[in-house]
Amino acid sequence: MASAFAPGVTASSRPVTLPLTPRRLRGMAPAWIAAAFIVLAVGLGPWALRLDPTSIDLSAINQLPSAYHLLGTDDTGRDLLARLLAGGQVSLGVASAATVLATIWGAIYGAAAGLGQPWLDALLMRIVDALLAFPNIVAVLIFAAIFPAGIRQLILLLALTGWMQIARLVRGVTRDVANMPFLEAARSAGAVRTRLILRHVLPNISGVIGVAATLELTKAILAEATVSFLGAGIHPPMPSWGNMLTNAQDYVFTAPWLALAPGVAISATVFVVFRMQEWLHLRGAAL
């Protein structure tokens, strides 16, 4: 899925770092502030709010926002704000962990293909092509049907289905860097393979790895939400932004505000990460 959702990212984008002028920093300020707000709210919110996101109160179901329940309550009387904040911890935690795993594996895989012999490169990339062709959501759903549910399994699933695009991007720049004269110079000066990779290749591909990782984060957030929404990811009573919306459609006639907060939270977070990705990309490839 979403291999196409790469605004402005191409495999050939060369990592060249631009100086951070005040203007560039200013243009990015809203996104950084929003990102800091989301992380703080999700990180400290549940602790500050002191409401149990799983405590059921059947005398107060589907309530409108009030002074006590700031966002109202859901269909079993649980506080929506508490669920939103705790759900954010789950959703963003799962997505971030999956992104880290996918990035590490994708970068190693892509670099191996980019630096390896042509036959190895061809083999590794054919595998990536085959895996990329299959819709991500379908793969996650099938695995979710096969393996028992749980946070760790979901992280692993999202990582397993998300690393291919990263591998492809990293392979592209690694290939470019591998053909650069400075690499040949270093090799002829007698640098061993480890040194070549750590001192010459890695610094030149780290920009692209960063761009690819942020892009993967947007996909992981959306994938977690989608899978949990469909009832195959995070299962209630544990909240996640996706499963908070599972029942929302049944109440769209009677309590439509139930769907508002989680949906806005997902969309806003993904939008902010997109903006950061765009900025990282511009910073890396604008020359």
Binding site: A4, P7, G8, A130, I137, A144, A145, I266, S267
Partner: protein
């Protein structure tokens, strides 16, 4: 060209076969399966019961003999028997095929048509105010999950303004009519196509803007070719290859998207069947859907490859 097509076709068959066999083995290796879900209430659950159900379903056999049975069923065209429906998988899937083709086909048309139109306009006017608005709106559209967009559309157009039906494929209290069917299609197609259209638009925009900056465009302008001809003959042509790539990539994306949107709108297609079968652990049906998707995805990539050669004769057949 024929040799090339045949070679690609062979690759296609191998890929689909590997995909299905891997899925099959994974499904059948993991303990704990459909029996629990088919037995319903856990009160009656005993290991003997489970063993009996597994025996009836045939999943107590070794994986290899199950695989042989599945290949046998595949060759006979019925793809095995569903655990849940008392029917062959081919028939269960066949009943739900047309609604999904309708939904996915319209979405693909809208994605490609709308995405290319918007992208061409924005790319030709790169940097203008309209371009900046379109690009910003596209990134917003990419950030919204399709299922939430679906719920929001239902709220606006079915609950608040009662213009369109909220779910299903036909009104229950009216005789079936084309108009009614179209009314039921509008919201699912919109929910599915918006983000894809935005992605396509952004991509086309970048390709066109890049093509317009290339040397051949400058030469064409310098020799006095009228602006519109420069755009159509040179810019559009060199932007065609990335656009084709994207269109090919959208087939799997949209197929995956139908799973979500069909579930939201209770659209009786393959996607909804898939979500239901995941919950029911209906392995034979899931296998059938994986096979079908594999064929669709690989066929799309094959068509894309063929289209490349038509668009750009420089690409060699090898």
């Amino acid at each position: 060209m024929i040799a090339f097509s045949l070679r690609r076709l062979l690759q296609v068959v191998v890929t689909v076969a590997l995909l299905t066999v891997t899925t099959f083995i994974l499904m059948h290796l993991v303990p704990g399966g459909p029996a629990f879900f088919l037995m319903g209430t856990p009160d009656h659950y005993t290991p003997e019961h489970e063993a009996a159900v597994n025996r009836v379903l045939g999943i107590d056999q070794p994986v290899v003999s199950q695989l042989v049975l599945w290949v046998y069923a595949f060759v006979h065209g019925d793809l095995g028997w569903s655990f849940f429906y008392k029917d062959s998988v081919a028939h269960v899937i066949g009943l739900r095929l047309w609604p999904t083709i309708e939904l996915a086909g319209l979405t693909l048309l809208l994605t490609i048509g709308g995405g290319i139109t918007l992208g061409l306009y924005a790319g030709a006017h790169a940097g203008s105010r309209i371009d900046r608005c379109l690009s910003a709106a596209s990134v917003v559209a990419l950030s919204v999950p399709s299922f939430w967009l679906g719920i929001a559309l239902v709220f606006v157009f079915a609950v608040w303004q009662r213009w369109l039906p909220s779910s299903g494929i036909a009104a229950l209290n009216e005789p079936p009519s084309v108009a009614d069917h179209v009314r039921h299609l509008v919201l699912p197609v919109l929910a599915l196509s918006l983000s894809h259209m935005a992605g396509m638009g952004l991509y086309v925009r970048t390709s066109v803007a890049e093509a317009l900056r290339s040397d051949c465009i400058r030469t064409a302008r310098a020799k006095g070719l009228p602006g519109r001809l420069v755009f159509v003959r040179h810019a559009l042509r060199s932007a065609l290859i990335p656009i084709l790539t994207m269109a090919g990539l959208y087939v799997p994306n949209i197929s995956g998207g139908t799973v979500v949107v069909e579930t939201v709108f209770s659209w009786p297609g393959i996607g909804q069947l898939m979500t239901l079968s995941v919950v029911r652990r209906d392995y034979p049906v899931l296998m059938g859907i994986v096979l079908l998707l594999g064929v669709v995805v690989v066929a799309a990539s094959w068509l894309t490859d063929m289209a490349y050669h038509l668009a750009d004769p420089r690409i060699a057949f090898n």
